[in-house]
């Protein structure tokens, strides 16, 4: 009898602890829930988002936090599956009582969570998903897009390509939404800007295709002036290796979104093909400003590697959250959203603002070409041309029309 009494008391004590602790948290800290893919190939990009975010949060907390509260975060691995991602977002909001959600690299997951946060009225910072529906037709008040999307990347590339002399284009890519969206983005805009361009052919391969040689020999035979290659993930490197082995890169120039990005060129070392055109929002070596250098130093010291595109979006997300609450003066969702609209912060790539009408971060886009550089043992982007956000982003009117 006595024994069971003691058990009951201990049991009740722990139950009580669990019931009270989320409340204690909610009072003492700002909680951010991060849902992202931390298993499989996507980790190449998601770890940078998380590390960039952690770096900024540690700095903010060391300075006393925001309005006297520390920023805390919890991560959940959605395993690149929308149903798991949505369940985790629900768990974070309903059980962990997070104030803010952020993530993910999976567009389908992001759209599912977006639908959920609209009902729950939780701000959601999108850090890597590239679907243009997120901020376009499915966009709403609680969504903040901290990176570019396929439509924007396509338009930015089209702006740069329209100034080049090429006329006969071949389009090739991964046969899934991302591939087609990038290809359509480039091609539809290019046709508008330079009506004389013509498409001589298309080839589409399955996602994860390992050997591009048969596709390339076929494209070579058709002799186009330029190729738009809409690959993503590991296909970026696979295509570049095949382009080098077949001599394609010496014969026909081609464009891949993020072709010049560190995750693609660094693994190949000096063996990456030169002369490949690409776009990216961030390089650790460009712009060559004190702000960027300081960020790179800080990131390298913490993680012993150079920051890549995801690091910038994670780093800035944390800062926007902190500064937003500071400006709002209280921990309140509606006040935070109001404060963030139109807010501009200094970043490693210069001042960045969140556009008020659609909550899109106004990032500059860099168009460059792969080149050897004696300073590095891998290829870097050369002849960088900066395309301003206002030129490649859809206008507020266009977004409004999409959202109807």
């Amino acid at each position: 009898m006595k024994k069971s009494m003691i058990f009951s008391v201990i049991f009740l004590f722990f139950v009580g602890l669990f019931a009270v602790s989320p409340l204690l948290y909610a009072q003492s800290a700002i909680k951010v829930g991060i849902v992202d893919t931390y298993t499989g190939p996507a980790t190449t990009f998601t770890m940078d988002v998380l590390d960039g975010f952690k770096l900024a949060v540690n700095k903010i907390n060391a300075k006393g936090g925001v309005l006297g509260k520390k920023i805390e975060y919890a991560t959940r691995d959605e395993k690149f599956k929308p149903d798991i991602g949505l369940a985790m977002a629900k768990e974070l909001v309903l059980k962990e009582k997070v104030d803010i959600l952020m993530g993910t690299i999976n567009s389908a997951t992001t759209l599912a969570i977006s639908d959920f946060v609209r009902k729950e009225k939780i701000p959601f910072f999108v850090t890597f998903a590239k679907s243009d529906k997120i901020i376009g037709e499915k966009g709403h008040k609680y969504i903040f897009n901290m990176n570019e999307n396929t439509a924007m990347a396509g338009k930015a590339a089209a702006i740069a390509l329209s100034k080049k002399p090429y006329v006969k284009y071949w389009i090739a890519g991964d046969d899934y939404e991302y591939g087609h969206a990038i290809a359509d983005g480039v091609w539809n805009n290019l046709k508008k800007m330079k009506p004389q361009v013509q498409k001589v052919g298309e080839s589409w391969w399955k996602v994860g295709e390992a050997d591009f040689t048969p596709y390339i020999t076929q494209i070579l035979a058709a002799k186009p002036d330029f190729i738009i290659v809409a690959t993503g993930g590991s296909g970026m490197v696979n295509f570049q290796k095949a382009a080098k082995a077949t001599g394609l890169s010496q014969k026909i120039p081609f464009y891949q979104h993020t072709a010049v990005e560190l995750s693609v060129v660094k693994p190949q070392g000096q063996n990456a093909p030169e002369g490949v055109y690409g776009t990216a929002n961030y390089f650790f070596y460009y712009p060559d400003t004190p702000a960027n250098k300081a960020f790179v130093e800080e990131f390298k010291k913490a993680y012993n590697r150079e920051p890549r595109i995801g690091a910038l979006s994670g780093y800035m997300t944390a800062q926007f959250i902190a500064e937003g609450y500071k400006k709002a003066g209280k921990i309140d969702t509606e006040a935070l959203i109001k404060a963030l609209e139109g807010m501009s912060l200094d970043s490693p790539v210069g001042p960045l603002a969140i556009r008020a009408c659609d909550h899109q971060l106004e990032l500059p886009m860099y168009f460059g070409v792969t080149k050897k550089n004696p300073k590095y043992d891998f290829l870097v982007a050369g002849d960088i041309q900066v395309i301003q956000a206002k030129d490649y982003m859809p206008t507020c009117e266009e977004v409004k029309k999409l959202r109807k």
Partner: protein, 299 residues
């Protein structure tokens, strides 16, 4: 040469040979899968993971030996052995206790292994893309077939494929272990009854099969980015090839790989937008007319 071009255009010829070189890797991996399927009756879904480990091991070995050509040749020897060691541990530690279970159980178990291996690779090598450089003498391309460029490395693959096939033939037909393995595939109990330790025969066959997966991983490494997820892309194709060729039949794997590789490269030539469907179409046609595969299945 001109007389050949009168019959087949250089483009088609080039495409056929590109398809053949792709066949090499498919064959090496699928033959290992088929060997295990035939003798041990395990549908080893983790076979793709061992291929992936082979590629990652190739990356490390290449790097240890200076990242150049020597590195690649060392990787070609060492990396498949690393994979063989991993598979030996898995077989002795786990699979040997499960041979009597039904296939569905084994399928689930090997699937679980593929997840475990995937996470292990992430722990050991991290999530970043890795790249193994093409050895110096195989860099670049040669103008072949009417001046169309043909990668030198693919020529190497064209040679490597038949070499592996011949070695495999010698192993299964001319060595004692090969003969025992073939006998065990047909009648496991009889082999045990004549006093042969079947358990160890199975272990050796399993390791050889996985060695082939690792070898495929090393050979593919210079042409692709070595990354998590490369196992899933391959295992599907490897299974289709094995099913098309006849379960457990190594020569069926060769035939299946040939059909798969060549229909794909020729399909791209005919209809580039839908090139991906041709090998799968070939699988469907084969299975419609020969539901048990092209060659005699050991099942």
């Amino acid at each position: 040469m001109d007389s050949i071009y009168a019959i087949v255009s250089p483009g088609v010829l080039s495409q056929i040979f590109v398809g053949l070189s792709r066949t090499t890797i498919l064959f090496i991996v699928a033959s290992g899968l088929s060997l295990i399927l035939g003798v041990l009756r395990i549908p080893n879904v983790a076979h793709g993971s061992l291929y992936m480990i082979g590629a990652f091991a190739a990356y490390t070995v290449t790097k240890v030996f200076g990242g150049g050509s020597t590195g690649f040749w060392m990787a070609l020897i060492i990396a498949p052995l690393i994979v063989a060691l991993v598979s030996l541990i898995a077989e002795r530690g786990m699979f040997q206790f499960l041979y009597e279970r039904e296939h569905l159980m084994l399928l689930l178990l090997t699937f679980a292994f593929s997840l475990v291996f995937g996470d292990l690779v992430k722990l050991v090598w991290g999530g970043e893309y890795k790249s193994v450089p093409v050895p110096h003498i195989f860099q670049g391309f040669v103008p072949l077939f009417g001046g169309l460029p043909f990668p030198r490395y693919n020529i190497f693959l064209l040679v490597a494929g038949p070499v592996v096939a011949i070695l495999l033939w010698l192993l299964t037909n001319k060595t004692k272990i090969g003969k025992i393995a073939r006998a065990a595939a047909v009648d496991r109990e009889m082999v045990g009854a004549v006093g042969i330790n079947v358990s160890w025969v199975f272990a050796i066959v399993f390791v050889i099969g996985c060695f082939l997966a690792g070898l495929g991983g090393v050979l593919v490494a210079p042409t692709v980015s070595v990354t998590l997820g490369m196992d899933h892309n391959l295992i599907m194709e490897a299974f289709l090839i094995v099913i098309m060729g006849g379960l457990g039949n190594i020569w069926g794997a060769l035939l299946g790989a040939l059909i798969f590789g060549i229909t794909q490269s020729l399909g791209i030539l005919v209809w580039p937008q839908f090139g991906i469907i041709f090998p799968y179409l070939a699988v469907v046609i084969v299975l419609l007319f020969r539901p048990t595969g092209l060659l005699k299945s050991t099942w």
